[in-house]
């Protein structure tokens, strides 16, 4: 389980702090796939970095709590970590699937060496040949040939490389896998293959997968719960199927209404305007300027993320 409580995470010094994650509370349980959706610049990747405890390259936590508690499936031991200390669990209890497979893998190293280099100590028992065999078997279980291990990254297609990244993240048997737009640059056929692979891994390991994507179709297909992010805030959380069946927040409604579907020719329109700047966020609800239902209260007072029904918190004055 990993939870953010009123977390404020962002960039820059105190005087000019840009909160890309602003007062966000979300709890991600064990054995579920949670999606985070939103437009570019809404803070979804920063939210993922906060969950990863990756407070490097200028990212820092300015308020709230980030707590994680993982129980090892094998030994039953429990570890608890907070904030930046989460980094002690990297490639052990927590692993990460980055977006750009070409710039992430080392072009001068064969794939097998890259996988073995990154493994935690507990996985490095036995001889190297033995370890390699275990990795090969694991890859085979995911539908990847053993020959992939002998390849340099440029010899693999974009989809293959991305699958290697997923496999690396899964091999350490983590309790939490964080994936940042893992299929964005790929075409639909390859995307489907990778998503199915990720679901299969999650079901097998019974761990937690957090998936960031701006593609709502991807969330519909594989996530159990979905959080919709807008301009540094989370505006709605709920079981994915329920959100699609009856989106509650006006922003979620607009996002879902904008999606074209094969077989439907009816007129669809996207959202007008653009999200507010995170440098100087507006007072009140951040969606107010684009919201068709906005009233005076929306421009004056920021709505809290409150329970509107049993399992669905929504941040809107009129829900």
């Amino acid at each position: 389980m990993i939870a953010l409580e009123n977390a404020v995470v962002g960039y820059g010094p105190d005087k000019a702090f840009i909160a890309a994650v602003d007062d966000v509370t979300i709890t991600i349980g064990d054995n579920e796939i949670v999606g985070i959706a939103g437009e570019s610049g809404c803070g979804k990747s920063t939210l993922l970095r906060a969950l990863y405890g990756d407070f490097t390259h200028g990212l820092r936590q300015r308020g709230g709590e980030i707590n994680a508690r993982f129980t090892d499936a094998g030994t039953g031991t429990t570890v608890e970590k907070r904030g930046a200390n989460l980094s002690e669990l990297w490639w052990d209890q927590i692993s990460y699937v980055p977006q750009g497979s070409m710039s992430v893998l080392n072009p001068l190293m064969k794939v097998d060496k890259q996988i073995i280099d990154g493994l935690p100590k507990r996985e490095k028992h036995g001889s190297r040949a033995d370890l390699r065999k275990r990795i090969a078997n694991f890859l085979k279980g995911l539908g990847l040939e053993e020959s992939v291990l002998e390849a340099y990254p440029h010899q693999l297609s974009g989809g293959m490389r991305q699958r290697v990244l997923v496999a690396i993240a899964a091999f350490v048997n983590p309790r939490l896998i964080l994936a940042d737009e893992p299929t964005t640059a790929l075409d639909v056929v390859v995307q489907k293959r990778i998503l199915l692979m990720m679901v299969e891994i999650q079901r097998r390991l019974k761990n937690t997968l957090v998936l960031v994507s701006h593609d709502l179709g991807v969330h519909y297909q594989i996530t159990d719960r979905l959080a919709i992010a807008y301009a540094g805030k989370i505006v709605e959380i709920g079981p994915t199927q329920k959100i699609f069946a009856a989106p509650s927040h006006p922003y979620t409604q607009a996002l879902i209404a904008a999606l074209p579907r094969v077989g439907e020719k009816g007129q669809r329109s996207g959202l007008e305007g653009r999200p507010p700047s995170l440098v100087k966020p507006p007072q009140g609800c951040r969606f107010a300027a684009r919201c068709p239902e906005a009233q005076d209260i929306c421009r004056a007072q920021s709505p809290e993320l409150k329970m509107r029904s049993a399992d669905r918190p929504v941040a809107c004055h009129f829900r």
Partner: protein, 295 residues
Amino acid sequence: MNDTNILEVNGVSRVFRRGGMFSRNTLTAVDNVSFSIDDRPQVFSVVGESGTGKTTLARMILRLVEPSSGEIRLLGKPVNGKDRIDNFAFRRLVQPIFQNPFEAFSAYLPVSTYLRRTALNLKVARNDREADEAADQALRSVGLGLDRVAGKYIRQFSGGELQRISVARALIPDPKLIVADEPVSMVDASMRMNIVNLFRQIVEEKGVSFIYITHDLSTAYYLSDHVSIMNTGRVIEQGLPSDILDNPSQDYTRELMGAIPTIGARWTELEEIDRRYPTGDRATTESAARHQTTS
């Protein structure tokens, strides 16, 4: 041969050599593709996965890549070879829109400078004042205006806005054909439909035809008058979007359609996975309970 056709592509192939200079290893990116686009303004979609040759085809139509064999004709005149249309006339007739608008414009020049230069280079305008007018007019037809764009750099725009500006730039010479290679795949899903609707509006108001290259069947279905499905360099199926997508004759088309993450129809493979790993109660009671207490 029909001179009223805007574009005719006759048996066009493109072969690339792989490996070193003396390598005999070749790759046929586009293999004997033929189609024509008549003079009615329309959206003509070319759909396929990565690596099926759609971008090479687009680049040949834009005269950025020479065909290895076959012939492309624009308004009856050859695009390549000895008697080809001169470059200036060609650029006024055919304009591109690329996938990533942030790479299509330089980060070091205001975006409006490009629009002005396009107008001057293509002799749509004779001086700066006329160039500004042409840019403003083009920007208005995409729902912007020069007052909102002038002097700003690419990072001051969102992807959707910048792609609109790319469309405006393409419209400046009043072309007959715009070749758009994956124009919305870098645009946020929330703004994607605005761009797609804009294409339709331009077709109807300006009488420009689009060649829309994409891997996204859902927008192709929504937008196009004609769809060609490409696989391994060949056009394997073409026709009206409703005919092809409601009743695909090729396995490959079915696979492409089945891979769209459609809302309302979950992939059957997911159910198989769930059967293999029964988990019982997947309800996330702990997280639900915590939300109750924190709100």
